[in-house]
Amino acid sequence: MMSKGKSYYLIPYYLWIALFVIAPVLLVVYYSLFDLEGKLTLSNYANFFTPVYMRMMLNSFWYAFLITVFSLLVAYPAAYLLTRTKHKQLWLLLIILPTWINLLLKTYAFIGIFGTFGPVNNFFDLMGLGEQQILFTGFSFVFVSVYIFIPFMILPIFSALDEMNLSLVDAARDLGASGWTTFRRVVFPLTISGVRSGCMAVFIPALSLFMITRLIAGNRVITLGTAIEQHFLVTQDWGMGSTVAVFLIAIMALFMILTGGSRKGVRG
C-alpha cells in the first residue's frame, strides 16, 4: 500500500466529501441569497438583522449558554467523583447507557413527569405549593436539555481528569495549598481541555434543539434550530431558513476557532 499517487479506490470517500460535506454548505449559502419569489437578493440578510431575528438569536444564545453552564456545574463534580471510584469504567458505562436511549423517548418521559398530574406536581402539592405550570416554560426546556447533555459533558471531562497526573495534586498539597486552591490552580487548569470539548459538545447542539422545544416548551421557546425547521418544513421559505443556517454555521466556525481550533479528532 505504498501511496503511489492517488488510487482509484479512494474515489468513494472523496466523492462523499464533495457531495455531502462541501456541497451542502455551498448550497445553503446559495439558497440564502434568494427570496420566496426566487429573485437574487440580500433581503434575507437584511431580514435577519431585524429585531425579531435578533431577539431570537439572543434568546437562543442565552438558552444555550444556560444549558452549557448547568451541564458543566452538574457534570464536573460527577466526573471528578467518578474518577475516584473503584470500577470506574463500569460506572462510566452506566453514564453512557442512557445516551443510547432515543432522545425523543426521554423527552416524551418528561411530558409525563412535568405534566399537571405528574410526580413533580404531586410533590409540589405535598409541599403545599399547589400545582405549577412546568411544561411549556423556559425552565422545563433548560432542565430537559441539561438532562440530555449531562453524559456528553461528563465524558470528556472524565477522560481529562483520568489522564491527569495525580502526583501534581499531591505536590500542590505538600506545598501547602488548600483543597480549593489545589483545584483552582492545578486540577481545573489541567482539565480545561476536557471542559472545552464538553462545552463544544453541548453548546452547538443546544442552539438547534427544535424537537425538545416543540415537545416540552411548546412554542414558548424559539431557538435558531426551531427557526430553521419552521422555515424549511412549515412555511417553505428556504431562503430565510438557509440564512439562519448560514449564521449558525458561521457561529459554529467562530466558536471552534475560539475554543482552540480543531479538537482532538484522533487520539494518537
Partner: protein, 281 residues
C-alpha cells in the same frame, strides 16, 4: 492507577451526589417503563397492571413496518458507511503532508460537529436539487453520509497503531497491494471497523432531526414516528415501545462490549467520539 486518594469524611457526600446523578439519569427511563404497564392509560396514575399496550404495539402493523424500516436503514447505512470509512481512513492515513492530513480530518469532522438541523436542511436542499425522491433513498443516503465520519474516527487510531514494518515486510515477501490490504491491514484494523460499524448503527438508530428533514410522506422511521405521536399527547403504546427499545439497546450494548473485550481498550476511548458528537442522534 494506584495512589487512590480517598478522603474519608467526604466519601459520604460524594457517594450521595453520584447516586443522585445516576437517579436523575435513569429516572425518566424507568418512569416510562413503569407506566407502560398502567391499565389507567395515563402517565400519572397507576391503576393496575396490564400488558395491553404491548399487545397493541405488536398488533400494530404500521408500527412494525416502521421498526423494520428503521432496522433496515440502520444496518444498510452502517454497512455502506463503514466500507467507505475504511477507504477514508486509509486515505487520511496515507496522506504524507501534515497540512493535507489536517485538512482532510477537518473536512471529515464537519458533519460530526454540525448541528443536526443544519445537516438535515442542507441535505434536503441537496436531494431536492439532484431530484432524489424523498423517502427510503434520501434517508438511506443521509444516514450513510453522517455515519461515515464517526466510523473514520473509530478506524484511524488502529491504522496509526499499526507498525509500517508489517506492510513493508508483506511487500518484500512479494504480496501484491491487494494482498497487503486484505491479509495484513484489514485484519489488524478489524476491531476499529467493528466499533465504527457499531457507532454508525447507534447514530442511525438514534437519529431524528436529519431523518425528519429528508423523509417524505409515507416513509417514516421510529424516531420520527415517536415524535409525531408524542406531539399528539401521551399514548402508552409509546411507553411500551420504549421499554422494548431499552431492552434491545441493552442487548446491543452488551453485545458490543462483548465484541470489544479483546485487549482492554478503555471504554472512555470508545465513548469519546460520542461525546465529541454532541447530541445523540
Amino acid at each position: 492507577m494506584k495512589n487512590r486518594r480517598r478522603v474519608k469524611n467526604k466519601n459520604g457526600i460524594a457517594n450521595i451526589y453520584l447516586v443522585l446523578v445516576f437517579l436523575v439519569l435513569y429516572a425518566p427511563i424507568f418512569y416510562l417503563m413503569y407506566y407502560s404497564f398502567n391499565s389507567g392509560g395515563t402517565m400519572h396514575k397507576f391503576e393496575g397492571f396490564t400488558l395491553d399496550y404491548y399487545r397493541e404495539v405488536v398488533a400494530d402493523t404500521r408500527l412494525m413496518i416502521i421498526v423494520i424500516n428503521t432496522l433496515v436503514i440502520a444496518l444498510l447505512s452502517s454497512a455502506i458507511a463503514t466500507i467507505i470509512a475504511v477507504i477514508g481512513a486509509l486515505a487520511i492515513h496515507h496522506v504524507r503532508s501534515r497540512r493535507a492530513k489536517n485538512t482532510l480530518l477537518s473536512l471529515n469532522n464537519v458533519l460530526i460537529v454540525s448541528p443536526d438541523v443544519i445537516i438535515g436542511a442542507s441535505f434536503l436542499i441537496l436531494f431536492t436539487i439532484v431530484g432524489i425522491k424523498l423517502g427510503f433513498t434520501s434517508v438511506l443516503l443521509s444516514h450513510v453520509a453522517f455515519s461515515i465520519p464517526i466510523a473514520v474516527i473509530m478506524i484511524l487510531p488502529h491504522l496509526q497503531e499499526m507498525s509500517p514494518t508489517l506492510t513493508d515486510a508483506a511487500r518484500d515477501l512479494g504480496a501484491t497491494r491487494r494482498d497487503v490490504l486484505t491479509k495484513v491491514i484489514l485484519p489488524i484494523i478489524k476491531p476499529g471497523i467493528f466499533s465504527g460499524f457499531f457507532m454508525a448503527l447507534t447514530y442511525s438508530l438514534d437519529d431524528f432531526a436529519v431523518t425528519f428533514f429528508v423523509t417524505g410522506n409515507g416513509y417514516s422511521t421510529l424516531s420520527v414516528e415517536i415524535y409525531s405521536r408524542a406531539r399528539q399527547g401521551v399514548s402508552l403504546s409509546i411507553n411500551a415501545l420504549s421499554t422494548l427499545i431499552f431492552l434491545f439497546t441493552i442487548l446491543l450494548v452488551i453485545g458490543y462490549y462483548y465484541l470489544n473485550q479483546r485487549k482492554s481498550r478503555p471504554a472512555v476511548q470508545i465513548a469519546e467520539p460520542v461525546a465529541e458528537a454532541g447530541v445523540p442522534r
